[in-house]
């Protein structure tokens, strides 16, 4: 029984291979840049050029001997560049004139350059919408007849300085289409809420992903937008940098533990298998109500990653600025909901959360409450049996002694 506390992770058919786990362990040890308990986290909106406010959010998480930089921006489609360095003194340098030019290469740099241990990027390119009626297979891709998608590069975004909250280390990018002929977003918006953490913990709202100081959480919420059909399912297209010719793969980890997200026994993650690794992690669940509970949980399905050579995806200036001209992007689609059960149509609300970070992904362990209950539940009968048995044995001995005297 005691073995249950460990080793319950990764059972199931798509568990990470032993080699990968080994490389994770090996990679975590020497770099020392990962797994820092606490970090000094600062959020800074980089002031725009010539007084024009631009949405460029720099999250800098400084540990004892490492610094993580998360640069979120809604220049072009919403995107994040994540960079890990092995010094607490690395800095971000922004060259606005270059960044806003048609060829922004080199507009964004983390200095000193040789301290960079890891870098990658995510771009949220399109908001997808499908007709969910008569959908037989939820796992199919696409899940139904697609409606015209919304390109997130053609959204206008609020000024994030207004939503910056240093207390919770969070900021929200809120946007709606620049051209909205059907007025679908007249009363609606798409919001990307970014939050950083100075230590590990777990939010109160489902899906309650375990975060560490090395991670950053993104909550995507679609609120109030009119769907194009009665049974619309929404999706999100996410692009990332490929590694060489291959795309990173999405792992589905099955776990026994659904304490923090009731009835969700799976954790999906996209791993950039470098040294140190980076990851994007989410539970395959979205919520159709603000106070997400089981009754509002929608399944979230991720398609495999595929190269985007066949069709152009909107370019993100910050990704281009940091990585230079790249064309080996990989993309995948997340689809939220099924034709039955709760859906966006209930309250015109949809929210989904993920973590992005550097180092080995955080792993849930059985909560102390569960372990405590199990210890008492299994210990008590055993102890009573042991104690009672001893007492009986002693009494029996005494009893037989009396008898022998008689």
């Amino acid at each position: 029984m005691c073995g249950c506390g460990q080793g319950y992770w990764g059972w199931g058919h798509r568990a990470p291979s032993p080699m990968l786990l080994l490389s994770l362990l090996l990679s975590a040890a020497p770099f020392g840049l990962l797994g820092e308990e606490t970090r000094q986290v600062s959020l800074e909106v980089i002031p725009g050029w010539l007084g024009n406010p631009q949405n460029l959010l720099h999250i800098r998480a400084v540990g004892t001997n490492s610094t993580l930089h998360y640069v979120w921006s809604s220049l072009g489609p919403p995107a994040v560049v994540l960079v890990a360095t092995n010094t607490p003194h690395s800095t971000l340098s922004v060259n606005w004139s270059r960044l806003l030019s048609p060829e922004p290469d080199g507009g964004l740099m983390v200095l000193p350059k040789d301290s960079i241990q890891f870098s990658s990027a995510l771009v949220f390119t399109r908001l997808l919408e499908f007709d969910g009626t008569n959908m037989s297979n939820t796992a199919a891709d696409p899940p139904g007849k697609p409606y015209p998608p919304y390109s997130l590069a053609e959204f206008s975004w609020n000024n994030i300085t207004d939503s910056l909250d240093p207390a919770t280390l969070s900021a929200t990018f809120q946007g709606r289409p620049i051209h909205d002929p059907t007025r679908a977003f007249a009363n609606g918006s798409l919001a990307f809420r970014v939050q950083a953490f100075s230590r590990s913990g777990r939010p109160a709202q489902p899906p309650r992903l375990l975060h560490t100081a090395d991670t950053c959480q993104l909550e995507v919420a679609l609120v109030g937008a009119s769907p194009q059909g009665n049974c619309s399912l929404f999706g999100l297209e996410v692009a990332t940098l490929g590694q060489g010719p291959d795309c990173p793969s999405i792992q589905e980890q099955h776990s026994i533990d659904d304490e923090y997200a009731p009835a969700i026994f799976q954790l999906d993650q996209l791993l950039w298998s470098s040294l140190p690794p980076g990851f994007m992690q989410w539970r395959p669940v979205a919520y159709s109500q603000k106070q997400g509970g089981r009754e509002s949980a929608l399944p979230c399905h991720a398609s495999p990653l595929h190269p985007t050579l066949t069709y152009p995806i909107p370019q993100s200036p910050i990704v281009r600025a940091f990585f230079g001209p790249q064309n080996n992007f990989c993309a995948f689609n997340l689809t939220f909901g099924a034709s039955t059960g709760p859906g966006y149509w209930d309250q015109h609300y949809l929210s989904w959360s993920m973590l992005v970070g550097v180092g080995p992904p955080p792993m849930d362990a059985l909560s102390p409450l569960v372990l405590g209950i199990m210890a008492v539940a299994l210990g008590a009968p055993g102890l009573i049996l042991l104690g009672g048995g001893l007492v009986l044995l002693l009494r029996h001995k005494q009893y037989s002694e009396y008898q022998s005297i008689n």
Partner: protein, 465 residues
Amino acid sequence: MEEEEEEARPLLAGGPDEAGREAPAAPRALPALCDPSRLAHRLLVLLLMCFLGFGSYFCYDNPAALQTQVKRDMQVNTTKFMLLYAWYSWPNVVLCFFGGFLIDRVFGIRWGTIIFSCFVCIGQVIFALGGIFNAFWLMEFGRFVFGIGGESLAVAQNTYAVSWFKGKELNLVFGLQLSMARIGSTVNMNLMGWLYSKIEASLGSAGPTTLGVTLMIGGITCILSLICALALAYLDQRAERILHKEQGKTGEVIKLTDVKDFSLPLWLIFIICVCYYVAVFPFIGLGKVFFTEKFGFSSQAASAINSIVYVISAPMSPIFGLLVDKTGKNIIWVLCAVVTTLVSHMMLAFTMWNPWIAMCLLGLSYSLLACALWPMVAFVVPEHQLGTAYGFMQSIQNLGLAIISIIAGMILDTRGYLFLEVFFIACVSLSLLSVVLLYLVNRARGGNLNYSARQREEIKLSHTE
């Protein structure tokens, strides 16, 4: 007497039908079939007795079989869903004491059975109407009415069994009745989901109406049971006329003041009973979604595995009954059953192993426990208090089920299945603790609970000498 003549009139109409239905199957046995003193006739009565309970057991687990549909169509969370089970249990907290009294003193066994069957039917109809009118409170009320009939009907069924088979094949009959009950539950688990999808296809959409119609069709089994109740009443009355046998009585004398005389072992047996059953029935009530979500089972496979406990229990109950009868040592058997249940819940909670293993273990241990635990009451209670003791045991079992059903639903909504399983493990472990204590108390007091069958035989002989 007047009362009995009255009841004969409506029953005569149903009676010949019953006999006629049986007759073509075995035309030569016709005289034996109609002669209440012959085995063939008793077997006919046994068949009716078995189907008497079929309807209520079929409908009891309707919510479990349609969990996702009920929650989706009625838009309720798990806590409210589990209220459907709690509302069934509430009336029985009280009725367990009075069921026997009502049968013996007020209605008589025949009218009692018919009345309780009517309650079951009406309850199921109200439950179904709640679906059709999209009113969850009406569904809850239906389950309440259903509960009033359900457990008391089981008491009536046992009374009939005793009255017809005492000193003959009584244990076998009890075993067969239990098997039939489990078959009812199993058929329900595997049939209702399919039925719902058929009705959905024919109505064109899913929704409260579909749910209501499905439940209404499920209610046909209750009508079948009511017909059995009517036929049994006729046959019983006829047997009384021919054999001059008395109308069956539960013989239960409930004296609530007896409670203060209950011994420590009896209280421990109560605790074992409550803590054990609350970890089995509410789990089955919530199990279907667990198997689909955690183990990726299809809806049909989840129904099948959720009913395996009942499937196993059907043939194993008589076998284990015989085993416990032949060996004695009841506490050891109860201990085995509780430990096995603990292991199976732990497998479900902490491993991804194929849940068929754990559920089969649960089925075996559940059958074993029923055979070893319930007879123990008779060893620790003087015969005149037996009725009170069994009434009390059923009553607190129902109280436990009602409360734990609600708690289980709340835990599931807020903390998920792992925590729910841990909670059930804690319940089973409390039951285990009580078994261990019972063993120790019994050893210390030199009690008779753990005697082997031979020791019991010797004591019986020495008493008669």
